[in-house]
Amino acid sequence: MIECRNLTKNYGTLAAVSDFGLHLQEHEFISILGPSGCGKSTLLRLIAGLEVPSEGQVFLQKKEISGKKIILPPERRKFGMIFQDFALFPHLSVEANIAFGVNGSKSEKQKRVRELLKLVSLPHLAEKMPHQISGGEQQRIAVARALAPRPRMILMDEPFNNLDYQLRLQLRRDIRDILKHEGVATILVTHDQVEAITFADRVLLMHKGKLVQSGTPEEIYQHPQTLWASSFVGEANHLKVEWRDSSLISPFGSLDVPEGIGKETRLMMVRPEDFILESRNDHEANGIVKTVDFSGSVQIVGIELKSGETIQVSGSPHLLWRPEDPVKITPERYLCYNSSGNRLNGFSAGNASK
């Protein structure tokens, strides 16, 4: 239903968003994930019509709504937006806030307000003023207000940032359920990878104004498109490799990689859980345990390789490691990256391959 083509926004010489493409289906939930300052809020505001693009277009149901020729004002787009500070109108009661965007007779408005208060399970707060209710309640009211005019889509800008950790988990689930129940397409902007992954069907990874990768959370985790993506989503070990005498030489010995890929490869990426860790005597070992962080379900073992590099490996909690233990370590699954940090397609070692 929403499509962005070559969307670009420049502030002076700074390109906040550059050449961004996006396609959102009906009822789909996507999250735009990126570090702060990557331009994700600007992208959301471009879609909302709160900013004017420098280049490119936004289409709604195949009709252009932002571009060189036309800028449909935000009030005519019928998108609901939920802000980081909730932006409830402090001079209006909870009821009046929800009714703000609803058109129709007084009784229709009242009916819609009641429905939504019920939906967010806060019917008892109707007459309260925003400053009289808690942060979590304000958040739900903000959702109710955005949903009240039956928007085509919901845009959320870091909506859980101002809440404490426990409340965040709870609300994230509740609000996702409410939005799913309403069947309204949603774009969530966040810098929190857990939030992005648990909230959405599809994640768009954004870095320095550009789209890095789009896919399901599993796809992004298993096949990160760039080295940056591999360490932004999850933990990653990056190790230097070298193509010599028709084979790819790594700190773990030579790897079985086809020549076309191997010649281009400069770095390999291995997730901490993708190593096989075995206890060996000094002679057969290729590394020494340096640190052990035990955290219940896993232990993170820091290992210094004989080649001098340090890697993080997650080990089973059943086998306890101690500093200075000699170990043999083998990468079970890994991906290859070229000199500019992009993944070399067509090859992946181990079970992760498709």
Binding site: L14, S36, G39, F79, L92, F100, N103, P130, H131
Partner: protein, 554 residues
């Protein structure tokens, strides 16, 4: 409790000070109640209807005048961008430097029958006398409304502007996203959010209007303030004047309440929000030109034109006026202003500190009552101060006559002491309020630290508070200084025989229709009045968030 914190002495001291400065108010009540015949009936059948009518007209006129001028200019200045905006941003505060009676004097001179404007018109159209044409009379209720609107709208401008700037952008954006156009969003979100601040501004303007004496007297508009003056000086009817004073205070209390209530409301409106201001609307072509012209009008008529005329008249007349008279008046004003400012700051700091360390509600309440003095109009304060001192003088005199057969005469009445006391009643609140907000920045942990390091309350005040309060004390002193320099009615009623200040001499010239001779005096008062304007402008800049460009990019 007082044993453990050693604040018992402070409590009595603070309470005594508070009571001393509440004395005028009590004396008015006692005097009003002491009327032998029914003064009320007399008042209602004679002057009251006229006072009420004029008061309502003035409130309506000045209220809507300041509202329209203040809100429209503050919105243009804070939400739009046009060439010249930065200059007008502080320029719009300048009319605040003009006391009502001085701008009134200038416009009387300019617009009266024999003034240059009407003379020029007669010349152009060949009219010979006032029967040939109609010209709006300046000495009228309408004239007073125009004058006061021109010098009082900056209150609304100042407060509304801060309110507009502090509105988070997300609120206006929410409104847009919920289907309201930018124009609708202004009326549904911006304006209601700024309403408490606007009400505060209009309330302040209303209090000034009700308290104004000079403009009304010059324009012969009968209101409560001029009524009090005439009832006292014309008829020596103390109970009548006291009752008029209390009626006036009742009107004023409505606005005091409105102002305080709105301030509270405003605080709840600015809670929990991220201060990213809305980007300014860029005006172009005709609309930016009209915005500039619109904002220029009050600056020209409220400041530039009258100040220019005063300079011109002063430049012409200064050789003919008696300069020694000017310097002696200026010296008198200066001495009174410095003395009052010093005492006000001293007492203000002591009371703020006393109220702070006291945990007793009674003390805080008493101190807060004193801060109402600022809302008392000059004639009311003068009367309230005059009556108890006159009673004191009479009692001592009678006792001396009886006991020793000699008359002590007037000991205090007609001295500078009672004038300074009246100023303190009126302006102590200003110093107290500034000191109190200064104390607000000093945490109680700092006090506790000092006390636990072995310093008593006096030593703590000297070594912790005073150094930290220096800035606010200077500000408070400056504000009191300027207000004393401008003060007219209380000085007029209480000044000793053969004594005058810049303000009372200027007013004296004006009543003798020697307005041009008064220009040097007026100009001096306006120049002094510019100081707080500069100070306010700085405060305005500090209150404006500047970080929206950076945060916009995320």
């Amino acid at each position: 409790m007082s044993q453990s914190t050693h604040s018992g002495g402070w409590n009595y001291f603070t309470l005594a000070l508070a009571l001393l400065f509440a004395l005028p108010f009590f004396s008015l009540i006692v005097t009003a109640a002491s009327a032998e015949e029914n003064v009320w009936g007399h008042l209602i059948s004679t002057v009251m209807p006229g006072y009420l009518k004029n008061t309502f007209l003035l409130m309506l006129g000045v209220g809507s005048g300041t509202l329209l001028l203040g809100v429209s200019t503050s919105w243009l200045i804070s939400m739009t961008e046009f060439p010249g905006r930065r200059m007008l941003e502080w320029g719009l505060l300048l009319p605040l430097a003009f006391p009502g009676y001085i701008i009134a004097m200038v416009y009387v001179e300019l617009l009266e029958y024999s003034g240059p404007v009407q003379a020029q018109i007669r010349l152009w159209f060949g009219w010979n006398n006032f029967q040939d044409y109609w010209f709006p009379p300046i000495a009228s209720v309408g004239g007073a409304i125009t004058m006061l609107s021109l010098v009082l709208y900056p209150y609304v401008y100042l407060l509304a502007r801060i309110a507009f700037l502090q509105q988070p952008a997300t609120l206006l954006e929410s409104s847009r996203m919920l289907g309201k156009s930018s124009r609708n969003s202004f009326f549904h979100v911006s304006l209601p959010l700024a309403r408490p601040a606007i009400v505060v501004g209009v309330s302040l303007a209303m209090m000034e209007t009700l308290a104004d004496f000079g403009t009304m007297q010059l324009f012969a508009v009968q209101t409560f303030t001029t009524g009090i003056y005439h009832t006292w000086f014309g008829a020596y009817n103390a109970p009548g004047a006291a009752q008029l004073s209390l009626s006036l205070l009742m009107f004023i209390s409505v606005f005091v309440f409105l102002e305080r209530y709105s301030r509270k409301q405003q605080r709840s409106h600015t809670k929990n929000s991220i201060h990213i201001p809305h980007p300014r609307y860029k005006l172009s072509g005709i609309s930016s030109l009209s915005a500039f012209a619109f904002c220029l009008v009050p600056v020209v008529f409220g400041f530039a034109l009258p100040a220019g005329l005063l300079i011109q008249w002063a430049a012409k007349s200064w050789r003919e006026v008696m300069l020694e008279r000017f310097f002696s008046d200026a010296g008198n004003s200066l001495i009174l202003a410095v003395l009052t400012a010093f005492l006000a700051v001293l007492l203000g700091v002591l009371m703020a500190y006393g109220s702070r360390i006291s945990k007793r509600r009674r003390i805080r309440w008493a101190v807060r009552t004193v801060s109402l003095g600022y809302t008392f109009p000059g004639p009311v304060v003068a009367l309230g101060v005059l009556l108890p001192f006159a009673w004191f003088d009479r009692t001592i005199d009678a006792w001396m006559q009886e006991s020793f057969g000699i008359s002590s005469g007037y000991l205090l009445s007609g001295t500078l002491f009672i004038l300074v006391f009246a100023y303190l009643v009126r302006f102590l609140a200003l110093a107290y309020g500034t000191a109190e907000s200064g104390f607000g920045r000093i945490t109680s942990a700092m006090e506790d630290a000092s006390r636990s390091l072995g310093k008593n309350t006096w030593q703590t005040l000297k070594r912790v508070h005073l150094p930290l309060l220096r800035g606010s004390m200077l500000t408070a002193g400056l504000l009191v200084f300027v207000d004393v320099m401008k003060e007219l009615p209380a000085t007029l009623m209480l000044q000793p025989f053969n004594f005058s200040t810049l303000a009372t001499r200027a007013y004296g010239y004006a009543t003798e229709e020697l307005l041009r001779e008064a220009s040097l005096w007026c100009l001096t008062i306006v120049l002094v009045g510019l100081f707080p304007v500069i100070f306010l402008n700085r405060q305005l800049r500090e209150s404006a968030p500047q970080n929206y460009l950076e945060s916009d990019h995320d």
